[in-house]
Symmetry: C2
Subunit: 496 residues, 2 copies
C-alpha cells in the first residue's frame, strides 16, 4: 500500500503534467495553425500557465509531503518517482522567482532580436541581449549548482540530459576526435569517383511527399488515431504521448529534407507513444531526457532510414505508389544523397560523420561563455577559429556562423551535447537490437518494423525515466555509453 503523502504527491504532479500537456498543444498550435495576430495572446496564455506550474512545483507543502513519503513502503517505480519529484522540486525552488522572471524576459527579447539580426546578418545588435541572457544563465547555473551540488555548467547539462557531466563529455568527445577526422577524409576520397548528387534532379510534388511521409509514419508504427502530421517552419515532434504531433516542411527540389524530417520526428514520437501508460502524468513516466530522446530519433533517421535496406524498401514503395511518374527518376539519387559526407557550415544540414564536430565546437564555446572565459562580443571570432579547427571551413558571415542556431538566443545552454550523445547511443542501441535480431536488414527491406519497435518499446520506451541513461544503456546493450558501435557503424556505412 502506498502512503497517503505519496498519493497526494502523485495527484499534485498529475495536475502539473496536465498543464504541461496543455502547453504542449498550444506550442504546437503556435507553430502550425495560429494566425500571426494571435501571437501576443498566446505569449500571455503560456506565461500564465508557466506561472501556475511554477507555483505548483515550488509549493512549500511539496517538501513536507516528500519527507513524509520517504522511507514508506512503496515499490521501486514509486520510489524512483518520488526521487524525480524531489529533484524537480529542488530545481524549481533553487532559482529565485525574480531571477526566473528576468531570465524568461531576457530570453524572449533575445530570441526576437535573433530573428531580426539573423535576417539582416547583423550580429552586433545581438551582443547586449545575448550578454544579458548569458549573465542570467550563469546566475541560474550558480543557483542550481548550490542546490544540487553540481558544477554550474553540469547543472545546465543535467537539465537536458539528467546525469550528464563535463567529465564524461570530455572523454566522449576526445574519443570521437580520435577517429572522426581521418574517417571523414577517407569517406570523402571514396566519394571522389561519384558525381555529387544534385537535389534538383529529384523534383517531388508536395502532395506526393505528404502522402509518402504519412505512409512512413504509419508503417513505422505510429497509429493514425494518436498522431498528426502538419507543416511548420522547423520540423518538430510535439503534443502528448496519446496525441503526438509531428511537423515537417516540404521542398519540391529536395524530398530528403521533408522526408528525413518526418522520419527523425517519428523516432521521437514513437518514444513518447511507448512511454509506460500506467505512469502517464508522473515524472517516472516521462521520457528520460534529450539525449535518450535524440537516440530514438537518430536511431530511426540515421541507423534505419539511411541504411541500404530501408532505401531499397523506400524506392520500391515509391515505385509501387507512383508508377512511372516523371519524378521517379530522381529516386535513384536518394541513396547517394542520404549518405553524402562533406563538411559544411550548417549543423542541421550536416551528415552524420561531420555532425559531431559541430557539436564539439558548440560545447567548447558555450562552456567558455558560461564560465566567463568568452565574451559574447568575441563569439564570431571564436566561431571562425573553431570551425577552421574542427571542420576545415570558415563561415563568410555570422548568419551561417554563430547566428545559425536558435539555442543560445533562447537561453538553452547545455543542450547541444545531447545531439551527439544521442547519435552515439543510437548506434549502440541499434547494434544491440540487430545483434539480437539477425533478420533486421531483411525485415527493414520489406518495410516490416514491428520487431524493431517491440525491442525499442521493451528496452527503452516503456522504461520512461525509471533508470538513469547509463542504466538504460547497460540493460539494453550490456554496456554504458561508448563510441565503439558508432565508429563501427560509420566505418561500415562509409568505408566498406
Amino acid at each position: 500500500m502506498t502512503s497517503d503523502a505519496y498519493n497526494e504527491l502523485e495527484k499534485h504532479f498529475q495536475r502539473i503534467a496536465n498543464l504541461e500537456s496543455a502547453k504542449a498543444i498550444l506550442h504546437w498550435d503556435s507553430a502550425t495553425k495560429m494566425p500571426v495576430g494571435g501571437a501576443m495572446a498566446r505569449i500571455e496564455q503560456l506565461a500564465t500557465l508557466d506561472g501556475v506550474i511554477h507555483s505548483l512545483i515550488t509549493d512549500p507543502d511539496i517538501g513536507e509531503l516528500i519527507d513524509k513519503a520517504k522511507g514508506k513502503d512503496i515499490d521501486s517505480w514509486s520510489t524512483r518517482n518520488l526521487e524525480l519529484m524531489e529533484q524537480r522540486w529542488q530545481r524549481a525552488s533553487a532559482v529565485p522567482a525574480g531571477l526566473v522572471e528576468a531570465y524568461t524576459r531576457a530570453c524572449v527579447s533575445c530570441e526576437a532580436c535573433w530573428r531580426y539580426a539573423r535576417d539582416r546578418n547583423d550580429y552586433s545588435v545581438l551582443v547586449p541581449l545575448l550578454t544579458e541572457v548569458v549573465t542570467l544563465t550563469r546566475e541560474r547555473a550558480c543557483a542550481l549548482s548550490d542546490a544540487l551540488d553540481l558544477m554550474p555548467y553540469d547543472a545546465l547539462l543535467d537539465e537536458h540530459d539528467p546525469g550528464c557531466r563535463v567529465k564524461e563529455l570530455d572523454k566522449l568527445f576526445s574519443e570521437l576526435q580520435n577517429f572522426l577526422p581521418s574517417l571523414t577524409n577517407e569517406a570523402m576520397s571514396r566519394q571522389e569517383k561519384q558525381e555529387k548528387p544534385r537535389h534538383e534532379r529529384a523534383r517531388f510534388p508536395v502532395k506526393y511527399q505528404q502522402r509518402v511521409a504519412k505512409l512512413l509514419m504509419l508503417q513505422l508504427g505510429l497509429e493514425d488515431n494518436h498522431s498528426r502530421l502538419d507543416v511548420s517552419h522547423h520540423p518538430f515532434s510535439g503534443g502528448v504521448p496519446d496525441d503526438v504531433r509531428i511537423t515537417t516542411r516540404y521542398n519540391e527540389d529536395n524530398m530528403a529534407q521533408g522526408l528525413l524530417g518526418v522520419l527523425h520526428e517519428t523516432g521521437h514520437a514513437l518514444y513518447e507513444r511507448g512511454l509506460p501508460k500506467d505512469w502517464r502524468g508522473q515524472p517516472v513516466g516521462e521520457a528520460h531526457g534529450m539525449a535518450v530522446h535524440e537516440s530514438q530519433s537518430l536511431l530511426i533517421e540515421m541507423q534505419v532510414s539511411r541504411s541500404q535496406p530501408f532505401l531499397t524498401f523506400l524506392t520500391t514503395k515509391l515505385q509501387s505508389l507512383f508508377g512511372d511518374a516523371d519524378f521517379l527518376q530522381g529516386v535513384q539519387d536518394l541513396s547517394c544523397l542520404w549518405t553524402w559526407v562533406e563538411p559544411g557550415l550548417i549543423r542541421v544540414d550536416a551528415d552524420e560523420v561531420t555532425y559531431p564536430s559541430h557539436i564539439i565546437l558548440r560545447y567548447e564555446l558555450e562552456r567558455q561563455l558560461i564560465d566567463g572565459h568568452l565574451d559574447p562580443i568575441d563569439l564570431p571570432e571564436a566561431w571562425s577559429v573553431g570551425m577552421g579547427k574542427y571542420l576545415g571551413i570558415v563561415p563568410l558571415d555570422d548568419r551561417d556562423g554563430c547566428m545559425q542556431d536558435i539555442h543560445w538566443y533562447t537561453g538553452e545552454f547545455g543542450y547541444f551535447p545531447s545531439y551527439t550523445v544521442g547519435a552515439v547511443a543510437a548506434a549502440q542501441f541499434f547494434a544491440a537490437a540487430t545483434g539480437q535480431m539477425p533478420q533486421m536488414d531483411e525485415n527493414i527491406e520489406c518495410g516490416d518494423f514491428s520487431l524493431l519497435l517491440s525491442w525499442l518499446r521493451c528496452n527503452i520506451h516503456s522504461c520512461g525515466s525509471r533508470y538513469s541513461r547509463d542504466q538504460l544503456l547497460r540493460r539494453a546493450t550490456g554496456r554504458e555509453l561508448e563510441t565503439f558501435d558508432f565508429e563501427r557503424h560509420l566505418r561500415k556505412r562509409y568505408l566498406d
Copy 2:
C-alpha cells in the same frame, strides 16, 4: 489614479482570462485537429485548467480586495469592471466545490450517453442520467438563487444572458406568439405558387465552397492574420479576440449549410474582434452574453446575408469567380432556398419565422424540468404535445424530438432563450443601423460592409460588457428590447 486593490484585481482577472483563452484554443483543437486518441488527455487538461480557474476565482483574497477597491476613485469602466468581478466571484463562490464536481461529472456522463442514445434512438437509457443532471442543475440554481437573490431559473438565465428574467421572456414570447402563427401561414400560402427548391440542383464542390467562405469572411471584415476557417462537425466560432477561429461543415449537395454556417459564425467572430482592446482580459472587456452574441451572428446571417441585396452580391460574386462552371446553375435557387418558410422538426434547420416556436417550446419545458413539474421520463410526451401546439407537427421518434439538441444533456439550462432574444435584438439593431445609413442596401449589394461594421463596432462591439443588454439596446436603437422591428422585418421579407 486607480487604487492598489483594484490594480491587484485587474492582474488577477487577467491571469484567469489567459487561462480561459488557453482553454478556448484547446476546445477548438478538440473539435478540429485532435486525433480521437487524444480525447482522454484533453479531458484531463481541461479539467485541470477548470480547477485552477475555479480556485483563482474563489480565492478568498478576492472578496477582501473588492471591498477595499469599492468607493475608491476609479473611472466608470473600472467601476463596472469591479462590479462584474464581484458578480463572478459571488457566482463561483455560491456553489460548493463538491456540487460543481458532481455536476460536471454528471454532465460529462450524460453527454456521452446522449451521443449513444441519439444514434440508437433510445431515450430510455438517457432518463436516469438526465434526471441526475436536472437534479444537480436544480441544486446549482438554488445555490445561485440564494447568493444572487434571484429565482432559481432566473439564476440560470442570468448565466447566459446577464439580466434576463422569466418576467421579460414571458412577455416577449407572448408577443411573438401573437403574430408568428398567422405570419407563418401567410408566408406559406404565398410560397404555394413556387416550387420548393431542391438542394441537389446546386452541387458545389467543397474546394469552391471553402474559397467562397474564406472570401466572405474577409469581405465582411475579418482580418486574415487574426482568423482561421476550418472544418468541424458543428459550426462554431471559438478562439480569442485576436485569434478567432471559425469552423463550418460542407455539403456538396447543399451549399447553404456550409456558407450560412460561416456567415453566422463570422457575425460572432466580428463581435469578438471588435471588443475593446484596452480591456482585453478584463470582465468589462468581454462580450456581454449569449443573447447579444447571438444578435451579432443573426444580424449577419439573417438580416444581412439572406437579404435580396446580399443575394445579388453573392450571385454576382460567384459568377465572377467561377465563370460558367456547371454548378452555377444552382445559384438561382439560393434566394428561394435561404428564405423558404416551413415548420419542421429540427431547430437548427428552421427558418427564421418558425424558429422562435422551437425556442418557446424548449423554454416552457426546461422551466418545468427545473421547477420539478416535469419528470425527465415524461419529456418525450410533453415534447410531442408542445410540437403539435407550436409547430403543428409531431416527431415520429425521439431522435428528431427531445434528443435533437445537446444542451440539456450537457447541463445547459437557460441557454435556449438567448437564440430568440438574439434574433429579436438583431432585427432591432439592424433597423437602427439602416435608419441611420440609408445607403445600406446599396452598399451590401456592392459587397461593401465597412459602414455597417463601423456602426456595429461603435455601438455594440466596442462596448464589451460596459452596459447591460437593455442599456446597450437603448444607446444603439433608442429603445429597450421589443418585437416591433423583428415583426416588421419578417413581414417585409416574407409577405411583401
